[in-house]
């Protein structure tokens, strides 16, 4: 009896956790895909589950999805193995225990859960707990996607996003709306960079580079994130790549100069700052001269 109760309690805990994870993902679904898909996710938890796995990297919920999956499988296995839908009637057992003290597991059959709908009137017996139906997944129109991009772009002011979280939200929608373009990933990476989430930023820039291997700006941006992570060699490689694909790229020269400065290669740093100035961006050389790095 104790074992059965223990397993029953375990199943209840699993169910509660599954519900919590379901709501976490559902909230993200509402936020990222809009109300219509959110309603669909509420109808059909399988849809929410699949969507969660589709977006787990972008939304950083790999652990949530993995845990939810494990718990779901555990729950699916536990029910037939121990036949404990009855274990969910623990309160009744407890009542029996506190009553006559004669505990019997006599109600295993009758304990099977049925939907709240009154099936008895319709001569139907539900043999299993009702599950969500087969449903459909969606993606938004590119036209709508245009709006998300515009909204995200409106947040870009003064060389950074004035609200990076909101920008990420908009870019998420743009990306999930079938616009898996390199620029969308790169721009979301910038938002993560502004939030100092450099690893995520690197992930997005890498995705942008994967989609467009000659995307100089993405290399430059990833180099900046590596710079913040003090991965100067990786940053240097990226700036080199960026300049390879776009030799007149002032910002990349400037950023590479900063890397050289961090690597105590002041001569090369000054050289890059000058090249950057030649291309029209003299902020670096001014700063270096002011601080006595270059003469």
């Amino acid at each position: 009896m104790i074992m059965a109760m223990g397993m029953g309690i375990a199943l209840i805990i699993i169910n509660i956790l599954c519900l919590v994870f379901f709501f976490i993902v559902l909230v993200k679904l509402f936020k990222n895909e809009g109300a219509l898909k959110g309603i669909l996710g509420f109808f059909c938890s399988i849809y929410t589950f699949i969507w969660g796995w589709m977006k787990h990297k972008q939304l950083g919920m790999t652990k949530i999805m993995a845990t939810w999956s494990i718990l779901t499988v555990a729950g699916m296995v536990m029910v037939p193995v121990m036949g404990v839908s009855s274990a969910l009637l623990i309160p009744q057992y407890l009542q029996q225990m506190t009553g006559n003290g004669d505990v019997k597991f006599s109600n295993l059959d009758s304990s099977k859960k049925t939907p709240k709908i009154n099936l008895a009137n319709k001569n139907i017996k539900s043999k299993s707990a009702p599950g969500p139906g087969l449903n459909k997944s969606t993606q938004q129109l590119p036209k709508q996607n245009l709006d998300w991009s515009q909204k995200a772009l409106a947040l870009w002011q003064g060389g950074k996003y004035n609200n990076p979280n909101e920008a990420i939200n908009y870019w998420n929608r743009a990306i999930s709306s079938n616009q898996n373009t390199a620029v969308a990933y790169s721009n979301r990476g910038l938002a993560y960079h502004d939030l100092k989430q450099y690893q995520k930023a690197v992930g997005d820039f890498s995705q942008a580079i994967k989609l467009d291997p000659r995307y100089a700006a993405a290399y430059n941006n990833r180099g900046n994130s590596y710079y913040e992570l003090s991965e100067y060699r990786l940053a240097l490689n990226d700036f080199n790549q960026s300049l390879k694909f776009k030799p007149q790229y002032a910002k990349a020269y400037l950023n590479r100069g900063l890397v050289f400065y961090q690597m105590d290669k002041n001569a090369q740093a000054c050289n890059d700052f000058k090249k950057s100035c030649d291309q029209g961006d003299c902020d670096g050389i001014k700063w270096a001269m002011k601080n006595g790095i270059c003469k």
């Binding site: 699916m76 299993s128 459909k136 245009l146 003064g158 620029v183 910038l190 700006a217």
Partner: protein, 169 residues
Amino acid sequence: MQVLITKIAESYNPAYGHKRKTKVSGESNKNQLVKWFFTPLLAPLLQNRWLICIFVAFGVAQLLLVYTGLSGWRCPIYETLTVICPGCGMTTAMTMLLKGHWQLAVQTHAFAPVILILLIMMLVATVLPASYLKKFAGSVERLEQKTGITAILLLSMVIYWLLRIFDYI
């Protein structure tokens, strides 16, 4: 649009950024609601064969598990709160449909035939040649945009769910 985004990505520099302003045209709530209502949901899915396959695989597996009396995907809302969700009973109703008990299936979940049609559409989409699939998805998209059928169905299911919860059905 593409060019505008690219410009932003290129202009970025952590230390030496410069100002750039973009304008976004405002949108009234009414327009947003209309747009929301007529947003195609099924058509974009039908364009993605890989995604359809995943959904069909999940759906078929679920049906088989329930059909054979095994434990399939369990609704987290019902399992924990014992409150039915809008989709609860759908798998049972679908298995009844497969067994030919149409009346019982509709009594169990009124939207079972609709979901069966959707499942058949998805099954067809998995085997259609690319050109036909595109045409098929285009037709569905036009239907969804003109009629708002998806939103109507989803909202109807919400109403149906509320009626079930409060035992009106």
